[in-house]
Amino acid sequence: MIRRTFLALGALALAGLAAQPAAAQDKLKVGFVYVGPIGDFGWTYQHDQGRLAIEQEFGDKVETTYVESVSEGPDAERVIRQLAASGHGLIFTTSFGFMDPTLKVAEQFPEVKFEHATGFKRAPNLSTYSARFYEGRHVIGTIAGHMTKTNKIGYIASVPIPEVVRGINAATLAARAVNPDVTTQVIWVNSWYDPGKEADAAKALIAQGADMLMQHTDSPAPVQVAAEAGIHAFGQASDMAKFGPKAQLTAIIDQWSPYYIERTRAVLDGTWKSEDSWKGLAAGEVVMAPYANMPDEVVAAAKAAEEAVASGAVHPFTGPIKDRDGTERIPAGTVADDGMLLGMNWFVEGVEGDLPQ
């Protein structure tokens, strides 16, 4: 991986040397820094789809570059600085761990616009953005509540951070709103991407009686395991129907294209401003894959849930909500504010399994 970063840096340096100054002014150069390989078919893959969408939308008005598999350490700052120094006007850094390096480079290149995904530190030329994936979790929870026969959802979780905990809670709340007997069994695999372990965790959950699999990890392995076992699963990040045509009910798709196109246009128009963007179903940043393998009435319920959340009629975290120790976290008649959502570190009733603190 280090080797590839070097190669990419070398290529970037060469590209910078070769580029004519005139060409650099004509085109907006948009750079991307990825934490994983674009071949993960998950998180980084979807960001790269957004990059391709920019190219398609703006044609020869833009030029995009990416550096993949950049580790969240000292390397990141070098890569970001290299992009900024080689004439890029807009740079997206797509992992939480790139936050401080991005901020540091942003301060040194005030004329370059920066966009950092999932972070919270901003500057006049540094925006942050993320997507409300929990809105999608609300929809799949609704479906699982209707579809489960064993009343047990299996949840393959990556690492215990608020983003993941929020997703588990949103799905569990929605499922129990449909069917109060449902419980969610969580297994942590302590990795965002390890197809083997994800498959093992899926098998363990099935052995414990789960007939619905949800995942917050990036590989399609759990969908594959569900297909083999003849149960149902929900895809993550990408549409994974191919890996289990009979198994996948729907998938929560990360759709960065609208945001990336909008921000690129803003730079081209000169209207770009530093801001914090956290959009969901309504903005088309979170998209549900086609509903499949379920009866029509469940499709209707899923679509209703999707529309209700998108229109704002329903908030996935509407009180009264108690955590599983019985403490009231969200009082009746109120909804969770973004601060609470971003710091969520407790499980709702009905979630089983450890929550490492």
Partner: protein, 303 residues
Amino acid sequence: MEAFLISVLIAATPFLLAGLGELVAERSGVLNLGVEGMMLVGAVAAFAVTYTTGSAAAGMLAGAGAGAALAGLFAIVALGLLANQAATGLALTIFGVGASGLIGQGFVGQTIKPLQKLGIPGLTDTTALGRILLGHDVMVYLALALALAVGWFLNATRAGLMLRAIGDNPEGAHALGFHVVRVRTLATLFGGFCAGLGGAYLSLAYTPMWGENMTAGRGWIALALVVFATWRPGRLVAGAYLFATVTQLQFYGQDWGIRLPSQFLAMAPYLATIAALVIISRDVNLTKANAPAAIGRPFRAER
């Protein structure tokens, strides 16, 4: 419990395949740290060929062949040109990660039919024991057969004795007229062949797909396993199943009320290696008797 045991059998197979290959290489005195890279290249080659031809057998062969090809590169550099073995092996891993990603670009998100499960009708389905022991794909049994073959080869054949002699004392073996570099090259190629097969198991059977870096450190566990087994095939089999058991406990443990932090279980295989190393090292004879004396040492024929 049944699902747990089945998972253990499956999870142990890549460790077993890659570990056996590395064991033979190390017994000949070659330390090849490129197992992870060879596994990845094996995984992508196996997937690519199976996806293109539809034949899992061709895929297995391609995976093993790709692993061996990478090992051949190692042999040229480390055995032929006498480069430092540890550095060459590490470079091989880095190269394997990059090369497999490059080859695999067009195969991300593609699917193949999983490797077919064998089974004896009437036995496999009706009893728990049958489901646990008999219902697997061919590579699970191949790995065990290979362990037997390697054990027999090292302990009961003249060629095995020669290989061990070369690993312990290449100068002496050379003086007796054995072809040290040739034998070490063959052992290295066998190591790559097995590592490639282990990678092929991941992309054809374990999780039938290709994803970059899908081995996720299993090559390093295989390396640790060889040391854990004190270079003996029998103990390597036991170690592979032990490591797989610990890995699977991470997922089944919670249901059985084993309330250990999951991070602890995630690092358990490595802890087990260290613990075993400490225990084994206390008995010097136990380690010395098997550790190849000339491991990692380059050999140049004087005349």
